[in-house]
Amino acid sequence: MAEPALTNTGEALTRPAGWQQIAADWSSDQRAFKNVSWGKVMMWIFLLSDTFIFSCFLLSYMTVRMSTTVPWPNPSEVFALTIGGKSIPLILIAIMTFILISSSGTMAMAVNFGYRRDRARTAALMLATAAFGATFVGMQAFEWTKLITEGVRPWGNPWGAVQFGSSFFMITGFHGTHVTIGVIFLIIMARKVWRGDFDQERRGFFTSRKGNYEVVEIMGLYWHFVDLVWVFIFALFYLW
């Protein structure tokens, strides 16, 4: 049901530049964001709203970290892995972060090939992104398992403030849910691209509406957002 992004009137919009363009666009009729489709605007606004949810979670985590009187466990020690007899701090998180950032790269390439109507490469790159995402979630599951076997629970842990476990499971869990949803939709969209739904204007199963290649870009917006949020979680939870 996404809208064609182009201005299909034949006549190009003559628009001033810079701030004047913004003022002109907002005082014009029909659309405040010229040449931006409905779906893309909707995703941007959703991401703004989602930003507020993540901000609330992170601010709450910082608040309870300050309100508790019990010392906070040292993340460098908690998130260390012993590899070859040596304890390396934050090694798993470093790899996970690297993988997630890489997935943003493949996603960006998928968007590019999507606009070139290169079905095979777009689908392949989307699947690669999904694979990176699934790897990330898998490693997160490994991290959770390791901490749970060491005795970390939402209501307590062996090293200090109980809020450590609560915040950790809540924030990484909420982010992991976002990644998982992203992976599922990447696979669904990759299938649609591969099958050529957007070339044949095939109608969606639920919505009975036609899609187009722009959904790849909208998917990309979501994916990059989830990556960006991870950077903040990484900085505020693991490095602080």
Binding site: P4, S28, F33, C56, A161, M170, T207, R209
Partner: protein
């Protein structure tokens, strides 16, 4: 006015977007049940909200009976009373007012008023309603759960909300939090639609500064809701974990019956911050649509253009922005730093400026207008008076030194019922009387409407005016019964009986309203397409009620702002928005 009215030689830009292709329903089920038409979704939202609102109305009766005749009713135990208070508040604020203004009025009016065929993503819009219905059902389920609904008060403050002394601690609070989370998810789906429709799907010629103020109010409120509900979402998730998993986000160390609970180290104040970061914008989420709708009602029924349209728009936007930096004025007694109190008192009082601009402009719109005292107009006038009254006590409570002694008294109850209970409800009634002819094609009965208005309006004052006095006496809110308190004179009990009598009367008058809604659907006078001679686009549809797709073959083109009433030299005392300037100025 000249800068918003377009002259004939102003070219209307060509269409930028192809006309949309709608999903046309193929069966009764997809036409009336799983419907993607915003107008049907609006009616579904409204009926659901009104049904759950009736529950809240009955709860308020029960509370008033207890307050007037303490101890006379064996079926109202203290725990019941707390549950009534909690559910009444939560239902009215979230499931009735928010859902009715944004889901009901928003869905019906936004596409029609901006000249769109439907919301931009009708399927998501449909999901929004069904998730809202699910949230309502989960809420209702808590009445039948073991232990009943939660009795934590509508603010659900921890730690008491999840401790064993609070009624509904076992199931009620869990279902309440789950229902809120569902509501927020459902609302987000609808809210994204409303915002994108206003921003990106207006018809040709419909600039933002030509939109009716109703759309401005609902649009700004929706943007606010999309930014405020996340705080409530996060808070509900965390409290659910505190209750179910034993985390301690909001729970400090608590001694219960002589032994320590497993909680420790959390921050109860954190809940208050998150809750009110949502809660204060929420006040304006229900107020701004009311502001917008009332502006249109006044302008239409006084046959005069709205005074200071641009100022009205900017006041709505300013109130929306300011409401995000005032939340801690609900927390003056939480023990915060006095410097914060100073800051939040200042921002709170600054909000009075744009709000006062709006009130002055409404009054100046009425000034020397051709006022028709129709039922919608009566409700609109009632709103202005009530809102000013409630707003003035808001100025009292915004000041720290006045708020601290009045905190948790009936004065606060009187204040917020006036300003965000009665006032928005009057607008909802006015809006329904105004748009019912467009929705059904028939007028609501005028005599019943006037009866409904006078009982509701005067009754609301009979209920809430005395409460200010009770509050000043020091009568606390949320108390099951007063018992013997030296500082409360016996006359307070008499006053309580008076308030209860008024409340029962006003409640009964609402049944007249519901009867009117049902009766007029079949027996009401036929309305025609534009019974109020209004200018806005929803009255210019080819069919009444508007068909799926709203506009027939061609989308309307907008040539002027929404308030060309009594234009000198015009043939009629109103010029519809889609009438080109040349013909409008003729004769």
């Amino acid at each position: 006015m000249t800068d918003v009215t377009v002259r004939a030689d102003d070219a209307i830009p060509a269409a930028e977007v192809e006309d949309v292709e709608l999903y046309h329903p193929k069966s009764w089920v997809t036409k009336y049940v799983y419907c993607q038409d915003a107008k049907v979704i609006a009616i579904q939202y409204s009926l659901t909200a009104m049904a759950i609102g009736l529950v809240a109305l009955v709860l308020s009766w029960l509370m008033r009976l207890q307050l007037a005749f303490p101890g006379s009713f064996s079926f109202i135990a203290p725990t019941d009373y707390y549950q009534f208070i909690t559910m009444h508040g939560m239902i009215m604020v979230i499931y009735l007012l928010t859902a009715l203004f944004l889901g009901g009025f928003g869905n019906y009016l936004i596409p029609l008023m901006v000249g769109a065929r439907d919301m931009v993503f009708p399927y998501v819009n449909m999901l929004s309603y069904w998730i809202y219905l699910l949230a309502v059902l989960v809420l209702v389920a808590s009445f039948f759960a073991p232990g009943g609904p939660t009795g934590a008060g509508w603010t659900l403050y921890p730690p008491q909300a999840i401790l064993s002394g609070t009624p509904g601690r076992d199931w009620g609070i869990i279902l309440m939090l789950a229902s809120l989370i569902l509501f927020i998810i459902g609302f987000t789906m609808g809210g994204l639609n409303y915002v994108v429709t206003v921003l990106q799907a207006r018809t040709r010629g419909m600039t933002l500064m030509r939109m009716p103020l109703t759309v401005w109010g609902i649009f700004t409120a929706t943007v606010m809701a999309l930014l405020a509900f996340p705080a409530l979402f996060a808070a509900c998730v965390m409290m659910l974990f505190d209750r179910l998993l034993g985390t301690s986000f909001f729970m400090p160390s608590v001694v219960e019956l002589g032994s320590y609970l497993q909680y420790g180290g959390g921050s109860p104040i954190l809940w208050q911050h998150l809750f009110w970061f949502f809660g204060h914008p929420e006040v304006y989420i229900v107020a701004l649509p009311a502001f917008g709708i009332v502006s249109d009602l006044i302008s239409t029924h006084a046959r005069k253009n709205i005074f200071g349209y641009r100022m009205m728009v900017w006041a709505i936007v300013a109130i929306g922005a300011l409401s995000f930096v005032v939340w801690a004025h609900h927390m003056y007694v939480s023990g915060m730093d006095p410097n914060f109190g100073f800051f939040f008192a200042t921002t709170t009082l600054i909000i009075a400026v744009p709000t006062a601009i709006k009130v002055y402009n409404w009054v100046l719109t009425l000034w020397r207008g051709d006022i028709h005292l129709t039922v919608p107009m009566l409700f609109a006038l009632g709103f202005i008076v009530t809102f000013v009254n409630g707003g003035l006590t808001g100025l009292f409570l915004g000041n720290v030194v006045v708020d601290v002694p009045l905190s948790a008294t009936m004065f606060v109850v009187a204040h917020f019922h006036m300003v965000m209970g009665v006032a928005p409800l009057l607008v909802i009634f006015g809006g329904i009387y105004h748009w019912y002819p467009k929705i059904t094609g028939r007028m609501l009965n005028d005599r019943l409407g006037k009866f409904h208005f006078w009982i509701t309006f005067l009754g609301a004052y009979a209920i809430f005016f005395p409460m200010h006095y009770l509050g000043l006496l020091g009568v606390p809110r949320r108390y099951y019964e007063l018992g013997e308190m030296a500082f409360i004179p016996p006359s307070a009990a008499t006053l309580n009986i008076f308030i209860t009598a008024a409340a029962l009367t006003v409640g009964a008058a609402q049944l007249v309203f519901f009867f009117n809604l049902a009766w007029s659907l079949f027996r009401g006078k036929l309305a025609g397409s534009n019974p109020w001679h209004a200018t806005t686009l929803e009255w210019q549809t080819p069919q009444t009620p508007p068909a799926h797709g709203n506009w027939g073959k061609e989308l309307p083109i907008v040539y002027r702002w929404a308030y060309d009433y009594s234009v000198p030299g015009a043939a009629q005392d109103f010029v519809p928005q889609n009438q080109p300037a040349a013909t409008g100025a003729a004769a």
